[in-house]
Amino acid sequence: MFIEPFINNEFLRLSLAAGILVAVTCAIAGTFVVLRGLAFVGDALAHGVLPGIATAMLLGVSGIFGAAVGALVMMGGVSLVSRRFRLSGDTAIGLLFVGMLALGVMITSRSRTFVGDLSRILFGELLGVNSTDLLLQLLALVIVAIIAFVSRRPFLLLSVDEGLANTSGFSTRVFHNAMLTMIAITVVASFQTVGTLLVLGMLIAPAATGALFARRISTMMLIATLVGSASTYIGLLISYHFNLAAGASIVLTAVFIFAIVATFTEIKKSLTDRQTDEHEHQHSHSGAHVR
């Protein structure tokens, strides 16, 4: 029940491999997305790729190239907007993102198989991945890992404070763009698996789960990898046994894991707080605080 589906079906094995590659890529990029509070920018990038993919599909070329072009355009837009509109960045990025989404839907509506194409782009088509897709996803993982490794110090400084990155001798602009590039590559590599609408879930839910109790960034990334991979495996099983959409099952599992861990962390925290309060209360009664 838990392993046979993967032994008996090659497409499921391929899907699992693709899902795990995406989970690891998302764990690396997602850690910095969560640390730096870039969820909204990540979402915008994910939607920015839509017109690119739609155009590629109309022209009959691989969606991944269209996604890459869309991501580049969106990155330029986000980068420009975040430099220009410091205070109203959210508004400007929000407009960019719905603009690109609308453009994507408009282009897709030219296609005869409009609804099918749109749902494929938005929610992914994990069960249809082939070995070429896997290779591309592996390549994306390698590039994302290299960017994250090389830029780990400036990325950490940026997450804490942009000024700190600057006064430590790292160009804020260069490494901000490096971070956007890393997120864009992750989105492009993941859209086929979980779709542009759901990729944000894979970027954020596993990393946020890690952030709940990790004490170090490396631990957070490791937890994100484990949660993402486990969600892929569980999501695929649910999808197989109950005949549900694969990408959505995976993302929902990841969000569910976050919710469970968040609940436990909160309960543990309130218990610890109560113990501390009682401890202090006893101390004040025993005269330890007598002035």
Binding site: L35, V150, S151, R153, P154, L156, L157, S159, V160, D161, G163, L164, N166, T167, S168, G169, F170, G210, A211, A214, R215, R216, I217, T219, M220
Partner: protein, 242 residues
């Protein structure tokens, strides 16, 4: 001033601000190694803007500014800056030790691995600010004062020749304030030039130079000159109780 005398910080007719309109202008000063300049003024008087400009986060609007004979912001290994409200580290999964070690990044660059010496500097800096017992705790579990000690330790790991400190005593109790005064004294003793912004007049006691600010330079000079009653009245609207 003889041309041989080394100047740590030198400004001439410097204007600072966020747009082309200066918050403060006409700042002319010259600091030697080991000097302490204390910037005093109310909120919005321009203290932080001056420090940010010296740190290289803001470009000078007018006039000239030289830090160790170079334009500001070009010597990250030799200049350390403590911002006024350092950071949102409380939400990040970082231990105190990790936050302090970030001060070494300017020296390590992208690739160099931290050496035993780097780790020693980190340990020593945590001991100096008294945060070493909390070294392995997540910074988000610490009090405001303990977080400030962590950020002070981070600044010390830079082993800089110039320290730019924006309200370093904020959130600290009386022991913490004494600690900051002692740290500044020991850094100055090894030739470090310190520029500190503060609300507290007593922080100016040991300064070589005090600058009273109210969106302009109200007075500048040794404490007994710059803090005269008429200047204090002009700056704050009251005088120092004697």
């Amino acid at each position: 001033m003889s041309s041989q005398t080394m100047r740590s910080i030198k400004t001439e007719q410097l204007g600072v601000g966020y747009t082309k309109f200066p918050v403060v202008d006409n700042i002319s000063l010259s600091l030697e190694p080991g000097a302490l300049l204390v910037l005093i003024g109310t909120n919005g008087s321009g203290k932080s803007t001056i420090l940010k400009t010296m740190a290289g986060l803001l470009a000078p609007i007018s006039g000239s500014l030289e830090i160790l004979s170079t334009p500001s912001g070009s010597l990250p290994k030799r200049v350390a800056y403590l911002p006024q409200h350092p950071v949102s580290t409380h939400t990040l999964p970082l231990r105190v030790r990790d936050v302090v070690a970030m001060g070494r990044f300017a020296h390590l660059g992208l690739f160099r691995r931290p050496s035993t010496n780097d780790r020693l500097i980190v340990d020593r800096s945590m001991q100096r600010t008294g945060i070493d017992p909390q070294a392995n705790k997540p910074i988000r579990d610490l009090s405001g004062g303990q977080q400030q000690r962590t950020h002070l330790a981070q600044v010390l790991t830079r082993q800089a020749e110039i320290l730019l400190l924006d309200e370093p005593t904020a959130g600290l109790d009386i022991n913490g304030r004494k600690l900051v005064a002692d740290l500044i004294a020991s850094e100055r003793a090894r030739g470090v030039t310190v520029v500190m912004a503060t609300h507290e007049l007593q922080d100016a006691e040991n300064a070589n130079t005090v600058m009273l600010l109210a969106q302009r330079v109200v007075s500048i000079g040794p404490p007994d000159v710059a803090l005269r009653d008429e200047y204090l009245r002009e700056c704050f609207g009251f005088t120092q109780p004697h």
